[in-house]
């Protein structure tokens, strides 16, 4: 296709859109709603992925020792754990230090309550173990559980499992929604363009008679579809990025309940733009091709 022709095709596409403005608005709306839901799902999914990476990096095994274990025995255990394959570090935290950490993390309000326990520290000694690879965490935890002197092992499995199951569910529901909506949006675009074609079939007939190529006839309808797709992506994209950024700033870059870092707006916007505009244009082109296809067969 010649470049000089491109301008004409875009002009014609715009003309078509304005001629059936109501159907065009309906199509843009359908694409916008589809991509809005897709975008929100994507924001959640991307942050969930970020969360799971973050959590994986944070995963550690807390091995609590029995109260009657002496310091020597504890240090021996620590050495034994360090020697396990796949262990990156194993830090022995004596009960006094554990108590101090607890004091610090709870803050001033609880000082008095804790004061009562200071004579008779209820916190056990513990060894904090971190695996080289987060996936090995559970295996290492199981081995530590077998050791003498170890009372309880907390590997954080239950919390993480529940969270991941929830995130999977969110993602699956999102996928079903989006697939349904994409189909609906394509159908609407295809219908909008069909109306254009119907009102212009005389023009198309003459174009064919004087020797216009099929692609020449097709292009204005494709640009029409592409414009619908792009405008339909622009609106929800702006909404989501603006909304996300506001939330991001208000929360100070972390998600409160879990205190994990959110993806910065810029990085998220890039990914969103790629997916949303890509899909918007795809829906538009597909709708355009589907509607012209049957008509061009003569």
């Amino acid at each position: 296709m010649k470049i000089s022709m491109l301008g004409r095709h875009i002009r014609e596409g715009c003309k078509n859109l304005l001629r059936n403005s109501w159907m065009s608005i309906a199509s843009v709306g359908a694409v916008a709603i589809t991509l809005l839901i897709l975008g929100v799902t994507l924001v959640i999914a991307l942050n969930a992925q970020q969360l799971s990476n973050y959590m994986a990096g944070q995963l550690q095994v807390n091995a609590f020792l029995k109260q009657n274990v002496t310091k020597q025995q504890a240090l021996a255990l620590d050495a034994e754990i360090k020697a396990l394959p796949g262990v990156q570090e194993a830090i022995y935290v004596p009960k006094d230090q554990g108590f101090k950490e607890l004091q610090q993390s709870l803050g001033k309000e609880y000082q008095e309550v804790l004061q009562g326990f200071s004579k008779n520290n209820p916190i056990p000694d513990k060894i904090v173990v971190k695996a080289k690879d987060p996936k090995q965490t559970l295996g290492i935890a199981a081995e530590i559980r077998q050791m003498d002197g170890v009372d309880k092992v907390d590997d954080g499995k239950q919390v993480v499992d529940k969270l991941f199951r929830f995130l999977d569910m969110v993602r699956n529901i999102g996928v079903v929604f989006v697939v349904g909506l994409v189909v609906m949006a394509m159908f609407l675009i295809s219908n909008t363009i069909k109306i254009t074609i119907f009102s212009r079939r005389r023009e198309i007939e003459i174009m064919k008679l004087v020797g216009a190529t099929d692609w020449f006839i097709r292009w204005p309808f494709l640009t029409e579809g592409i414009i619908i797709g792009v405008v339909g992506a622009l609106v929800p994209f702006a909404l989501i990025v603006y909304g996300y950024h506001s939330a991001f700033v208000r929360m100070g870059g972390t998600f409160l309940a879990v205190a994990f870092p959110l993806i910065p707006t810029g990085a998220l916007a890039q990914k969103l733009a790629l997916v949303m505009f890509g899909l918007g244009i795809f829906i538009g082109i597909w709708g355009g091709i589907m509607s012209v296809r049957r008509f061009l067969r003569v």
Partner: protein, 228 residues
């Protein structure tokens, strides 16, 4: 120029439009195609610009092998043929000038070329002063002349006309026929399906008569030969 060898056409609904037609039309000829309605005239005409494809047989037009022509190449064939219809097929929202320019625009002609060639074509059919009028502001004869200008503007080797005077009164019909005669004088081949007895019998040319999907008569300077 135009060659048909044992051409058969059967439509998907079973109707048999042509049954073994062979014909040869040389460059620069002026040919009338006559015959009763539904005898296969339209199909005969439509095969030439590949609006329809033959079921059997071979067709050559302007060096294109039509029965083998790929869909992709059809536009090239059409650019070498000008087509004129009974109902003019002008675009109602475009002016006379724009209607003619349209034929050049869609094949990617440059703006400057379009300007020059459209002006020439309109001048040739005698409508330079009505270039900015819409089809609805023109008489039937004028509309048909715009359509002829559009068919001409590509400088086609062949002009195919399907009852070009069918919607015109006798006087206007003659004006349009004179136009076709002038086009033919330039060396352009003309194939015209027509029901106009007066014209065929007065402006004597080669006449091909089609009945029941077969050529029943083919004579130089022939007569119309039907009573309608």
């Amino acid at each position: 120029m135009i060659e048909m060898q044992d051409v058969w056409k059967q439509y998907p609904n079973g109707a048999r439009a042509l049954n073994g037609v062979s014909v040869h039309i040389t460059k620069g000829e002026f040919v009338y195609v006559v015959g009763p309605s539904g005898a296969g005239k339209s199909t005969f005409i439509k095969l030439m610009y590949r609006e329809e494809r033959p079921t059997k047989g071979h067709i050559f037009v302007n060096g294109f092998n039509i029965d083998r022509l790929k869909d992709r190449k059809v536009p090239l064939l059409r650019r070498s043929i000008g087509v004129v219809f009974q109902d003019f097929k002008l675009l109602p929202r475009l002016t006379a000038y724009e209607n003619v320019a349209f034929a050049l625009e869609v094949i990617g002609t440059s703006k400057r070329q379009i300007k020059r060639r459209v002006a020439d074509a309109l001048n040739w059919v005698g409508l330079s002063d009505k270039a900015d009028m819409l089809p609805s502001q023109l008489s039937g004869g004028e509309q048909q002349r715009v359509a002829v200008a559009r068919a001409l503007v590509n400088n086609p080797a062949v002009i195919i006309a399907d009852e070009p005077t069918g919607n015109l009164d006798p006087e206007t019909s003659w004006d349009v026929m004179k136009l076709f005669q002038r086009i033919n004088d330039r060396g352009t081949t003309i194939v015209m399906a027509t029901h106009n007895k007066d014209i065929v019998n007065t402006m004597r040319k080669r006449v091909i008569a089609i009945e029941g999907g077969q050529i029943v008569r083919d004579e130089q300077k022939g007569m119309y030969g039907y009573e309608d």
